[in-house]
Symmetry: C2
Subunit: 286 residues, 2 copies
C-alpha cells in the first residue's frame, strides 16, 4: 500500500510526501487541520491542505524568524508573536535570557490543542511563565497596543482566508504603532519564484516599505515550501539588519543552532538578481 500526501504549490506543480498514516484530521471554525506521520519529514501538519511545518524542517523557519532580529536588536525584552500557536518560535525566543515577556496571539484554539498533543517538543515553550497565549484575531489584538513591544514576529500563514487581515496596509501600520521606538517586525514574505506567488511577494514589500523606515528582505531554503525557497521581511524603526548587526555579541550567547549562523545572517540578505529586481521595482513605485 502507498499513501501520498500532495500539496499543489501552484496549479501546475505539486510536492508529494509518502505517509505512513494520518494521525489527526479535524476542522475548526477557521480551517481544516491534518497531521501525518512520514518517513522523510517525520510528523507534519497541514492547514487547509498546505504543509505548515514538519519535524524535519521546522528548525529552518523557527531559527530564521527568531535569531535574525535577535542578533540585530541590542535589548529585546517584550515580544509579540502573531500566529505561532505551535510554539516553535516561542521555543527559540525562550533561549535568550533577556526575554521578559512573549504575547502570542493565535486565532485557532484547535490548532494549539492539536500541536500540544502531537508536537510536545515545540509546544513546551507555551508553558513557560514568560509566555501568555491570547485567542484572538491578530489585527484586533494589535489595535489597542502602542509602543509596547521590541519585536513582533508575524508567524501567520498566508495572505488568504481568515489570516488575510494580517497582510493589509492597516496591519503593517498597527505593528509600527505597537512597536517601541527602536522596534523590529519580522514577517513571512512568501516565495518569489512562481509567478502566482510573486504578486503576493511584491504587494507585501510595498506595504512594509511604505510603513517602516528600514525594510529589507532575507531568504532561507525550506524544502516543504513552494519551490523550496522562502523569503522573510525585516521591517525596522531604527536598526538595519546588516549594518547594525552584532555577530560577536550573538556568538557570546552560545546558542546552539542547526541552520542559523552569524555568517549565514549576512548571506541571507544577499539575494538573487531576479529577487532584488522585483523588490526594487516595488520601491520605485512608491
Amino acid at each position: 500500500m502507498e499513501i501520498w500526501f500532495s500539496e499543489l504549490h501552484t496549479d501546475n506543480v505539486k510536492l508529494s510526501v509518502r505517509i505512513d498514516r494520518q494521525i489527526f484530521s479535524g476542522a475548526s471554525e477557521y480551517q481544516r487541520i491534518d497531521v501525518f506521520e512520514s518517513e522523510e519529514f517525520g510528523k507534519f501538519i497541514a492547514l487547509d491542505g498546505a504543509i505548515v511545518f514538519s519535524e524535519k524542517d521546522e528548525f529552518i523557519y523557527d531559527e530564521m524568524v527568531t535569531h535574525v532580529p535577535m542578533a540585530v536588536h541590542p535589548d529585546v525584552k517584550d515580544v509579540l508573536i502573531i500566529g505561532g500557536g505551535d510554539g516553535g518560535v516561542a521555543k527559540e525566543l525562550l533561549r535568550y535570557p533577556g526575554i521578559r515577556s512573549i504575547d502570542l496571539v493565535e486565532t485557532d484554539r484547535l490548532f494549539v490543542k492539536v500541536c500540544k498533543e502531537i508536537f510536545p517538543r515545540l509546544s513546551a515553550g507555551l508553558k513557560d511563565e514568560r509566555v501568555r497565549v491570547y485567542y484572538d484575531d491578530g489585527l484586533r489584538f494589535l489595535r489597542s497596543k502602542c509602543e509596547v513591544y521590541d519585536l513582533i514576529i508575524n508567524d501567520s500563514t498566508d495572505p488568504f482566508g481568515y489570516t488575510e487581515g494580517l497582510f493589509t496596509k492597516e496591519f503593517y501600520g498597527s505593528c509600527y504603532k505597537a512597536l517601541r521606538k527602536d522596534g523590529i517586525m519580522v514577517y513571512q514574505h512568501g516565495s518569489p519564484f512562481y509567478s502566482e506567488d510573486e504578486m503576493a511577494c511584491r504587494s507585501m514589500h510595498r506595504k512594509a516599505y511604505r510603513s517602516f523606515p528600514i525594510s529589507r528582505v532575507y531568504q532561507a531554503h525550506i524544502p516543504t515550501c513552494a519551490s523550496g525557497y522562502w523569503l522573510f521581511g525585516f521591517a525596522s524603526k531604527k536598526y538595519h539588519p546588516v549594518t547594525d548587526f552584532k555577530p560577536e555579541k550573538w556568538n557570546r550567547l552560545e546558542i546552539d543552532t542547526k541552520y542559523y549562523t552569524t555568517n549565514l545572517h549576512m548571506g541571507a540578505f544577499m539575494l538573487p538578481r531576479y529577487v532584488e529586481a522585483l523588490l526594487e521595482e516595488e520601491e520605485e513605485r512608491i
Copy 2:
C-alpha cells in the same frame, strides 16, 4: 485531461509538474531522454526520469557554475566543460571576452542532438568558433591532459550510472593534473538535505578536499532540484573563492544576469550550520 510528470527526489518525496505534452522520447546507448512542454517550467528535459534543466530555471545553475569561478580567477583563457552538452554553460562562458577556447566533452551524441533541436537558445553557444565538442568519456579525455586548462566545470549529472567515473578519486586527481598552476575546478555537489543525498555530498567533499589545497562549497536555490537546494564545489590550486574574489573587476564587465550578483557570490559561501557541520566532519576524517 491532466498529464503529470513526477520525479522521485527520494523514495518518499516527489515533485510533479503538470505537462502540456511530451515533445520527445528516445533512448541512446547511455540513457533514456524525454522532453516535455509545461506551463510552469516551459520546456524541460529529463534523463532517466530526472529533470536535468528547464527553460525557467536553467539560468540559476548555468550562472552559478560560470560566474563564481570567473569572478575569482583573474585571467581564464582555456576552459574544459565535462558534460554540458545542452550548451547552457558554454553560452554563459562565451559572454567573457577573455575566453580563448572551450573544450566540451559529452558522452551522449543524442543528448546534444536533442538539445540543438529543442533548446536552440542554449545550444547556440556550441556553434561558436571558440568551442570544440568532443564525444568521449570525460575521465578518459582528461587522462592525457596536463596543465592546459584555467577552469574545469564538471557539469555531469549524478554519481551513478555511466557518469559514475566522474565522481571518483581518480577523476579529481586527473582534473588537478589537467589544470594550470592557478586553475579552478567547479562541480555539482548535490543536495545536502535528504539523508540519501547527504552521503554522496559527504563523499564528494572528502575527495575534493584531499585533491586540492582549497576546497569550498557554495549554494543556490534551484526549484527543480531535490529539496530545491543545491550545492556546488569550488576546488582550487591557488585562488580562494572569497578572499581572492574581485567584485569591482567583475562588475566592470557589465554582464547582465538574472541570478548571480557579486553580493550573492559572497552570500553563496555562507552555509547553514547543518551543512557546515557535515563538511567539517568529512574534513576532520582526513
